[in-house]
């Protein structure tokens, strides 16, 4: 499920009028960003990561619905494609023929498959992206790994814990590269903030709050009732993990990731309040997740109100960090100790507050402008950064596997998988992305939150759910 799916919401409205960045600035926010070296007068043209000059890999996409199309579009628009050094999408697959023909123009050179097994049998394909509805992930992802493909599996991994564990187990044992589609984990803004939050720069974390508000039905048009059930799989409990699983997973994962902790329990509430159209999943949900040492995370998602779109708040005793629109601000408490970097940071006067921005080399004139807070240092979507790291890491692991086989042969797959761990750790370190364990953790948290919402109850997390 793509968090960046283009839909009309309040966020778009705000962008057209007063930008969120400006609003935050007026509230006295300190913008936290990694790439602050460029002055606001010359907005950041990001330095693009070069895909290593290694043997080129061929990619196949399975599932050409909304998310599959977004993935194809992102891959085809990699800046590296201009130099013909981007990923080759040589195959697309969907069991609905029109979904394939719809993408003929976007992927003119791609072979079209209606059966994913046939795509997996194509030896020229090195890596596969699984973008089918969640409930179909398991068989496809496992078959892809068995076929020796590098695999990117959309989040959540599956719509049951058992299926998610089966995928995670196969990924653990796979020689090849596996990446879970928790796109936010690859976003440079979040990578920058991660050590900031974990280091305690905002003080002890006491509470988190996040929301995803988007007034829309999630109904997709279909030609007949049979097709309707397939197209609108997100609306029915037998195929969908609901708001918590299909969209909330990204924010639910973010808090556990930043706090480096798994929740101990979740309390859920859900209702159908606007879209009473035959669906059996709530269009509005709230959840409170309990973490060790008493901190709680309040989350709500709704299709019935678009107010204030989506954001996350991390409340520390010294400062609160807000993340929205892939930008971050820090709001300091009046009694918070001075952090070292503030001395060198840009200072903005906002109403009664003096905000300190992380903009190196900014002049006073620049500081007084609004550009620095309005232009993101990161022009791409989280999906872009996520897929870019998938491509780069798959290329690196592919090379490592080839080298290994040349030296030692491929008869002992178990030892080869163990030895590839080092190469994978290096890959994840330099090009961060969600591992199979990250994917499993997030899936369990999201699925259990969804279960709590469906039952309007409290569920205690068990360690066994996170283990393979």
């Amino acid at each position: 499920m793509n968090k960046n799916e283009s839909e009309l919401n309040r966020r778009d409205f705000l962008k057209k009028g007063t930008s969120v960045a400006t609003l935050m600035a007026l509230m006295g926010g300190v913008e936290l960003r990694a790439d602050d070296a460029k002055p606001a007068a010359a907005p950041a043209e990001p330095e693009l990561t070069k895909i290593p000059d290694l043997p080129r890999l061929n990619f196949g996409i399975i599932g050409m619905g909304v998310q599959g199309r977004a993935i194809l579009d992102t891959l085809q628009h990699f800046p590296q494609q201009k130099e013909e050094n981007g990923p080759h999408v040589i195959a697309i697959c969907d069991n609905y023929k029109r979904a394939l023909t719809r993408n003929s123009e976007a992927a003119p050179k791609a072979q079209q498959y209606e059966d994913y097994n046939e795509l997996l049998a194509n030896k020229d394909i090195h890596a596969v992206i699984v973008a089918t509805p969640t409930y179909l992930h398991k068989d496809i992802a496992i078959a892809a790994m068995k076929a020796g493909k590098h695999v990117y599996c959309e989040a959540p991994l599956a719509h049951t814990v058992e299926d998610a564990k089966a995928i995670a187990r196969a990924a653990r044992d796979s020689v090849r590269y596996f990446q879970s589609g928790l796109q936010e984990r690859s976003h440079p803004q979040r990578q920058y903030l991660l050590p900031f939050v974990r280091s305690g720069a905002a003080g002890k974390q006491v509470m988190a709050r996040a929301q995803w508000h988007n007034k829309q039905s999630w109904q997709r048009p279909s030609s007949n009732p049979d097709r309707d059930k397939i197209v609108n799989w997100r609306l029915h409990s037998e195929t969908s993990a609901g708001l918590a699983g299909e969209i909330g997973i990204h924010q639910l994962d973010a808090v556990s990731w930043f706090w480096k902790a798994r929740p101990t329990a979740v309390n859920g509430f859900g209702s159908i309040l606007l879209w009473n159209d035959g669906r059996d999943l709530p269009d509005t949900m709230q959840a409170i997740l309990e973490y060790p040492e008493g901190a709680r995370f309040m989350y709500d998602a709704t299709l019935a109100s678009g107010f204030d779109a989506d954001y996350e708040l991390y409340h520390g005793v010294d400062a609160t960090i807000m993340l929205r629109d892939n930008k971050a601000w820090m709001f300091k408490e009046v009694d918070a100790p001075l952090l070292g970097w503030e001395v060198y940071a840009r200072k903005d006067q906002f109403y009664k507050e003096t905000g300190v921005a992380l903009v190196a080399n900014a002049t006073k004139q620049t500081a007084l402008g609004t550009k620095a807070t309005e232009d993101s240092a990161y022009p791409y979507t989280a999906l872009h950064y996520c897929l870019e790291n998938f491509v780069i890491n798959a290329v690196a692991i592919n090379a490592a596997v080839d080298d290994y086989i040349q030296l030692y042969g491929d008869s002992d797959q178990k030892t080869m998988a163990q030895q590839m761990q080092t190469a994978k750790q290096i890959a994840f370190k330099h090009h961060p992305a969600a591992t199979w364990q990250d994917g499993l953790d997030a899936t369990v948290i999201a699925l259990k939150t969804h279960e709590a919402v469906m039952k309007n109850t409290r569920i205690k997390f068990e360690n066994e759910w996170f283990e393979v």
Partner: protein, 220 residues
Amino acid sequence: MKTRLIFTTLALISALAVQAADGIRYQAQPAGNKVRIEGTSTAHDWEMEGTLIGGFVEFESAVQFDTAQATIPGLKDKKLAIKSLVIVPVRSVKSDAKAMAQVMDGLMQDALKEADFKKIECRISELTFKEPHAAGKPFEFDAAGELAIAGVTNKVTFPVTIDVVEKDKLKITGSAPVKMTAYGVKPPAPSFGLGLMKCGDDVKVIFDWNIAKTATTASK
């Protein structure tokens, strides 16, 4: 069918060749290997590391390693004549720097002409035993042979140790000084930020390599 016959014939010839040499062949094992390159620069010291070392070592059949003993059967004038090939894929050796690691990898691969010479190869032909040997400790030798980097081959000598890890399994550890320019390799001098960093010409290659007797020869 014809292809299978050719392969079978080749396999037989290879097997006969091993037996004719009357040697004991130890083959590279995939686990527990480490190759580390340590260098200097005008800015700071740097390191690169890999875990892939392939190849083989072939000793004469009389050679037996038992670290509890003071010497090694099969020594001739304190020397062991061996056949060996040690292979390290260039791209498998990576920087572990916290920042710019990939840049360092790219620079090193360019400097080592990885596009044309994908492997670093070392052929050791002679081991000179160092006495005295303390019982229970690894055997110490001076290794002599040839090292090929970036298409240039030079004669080398460097110290190695051989330890018996378990039955029929040896661990070879060594440290070889390498002058980059001797192999036609220009020490990388990347331009970072405001300054120019220049790598030193001398690097040290440190390795731990695990080898095991192959099934064919072990049964001898």
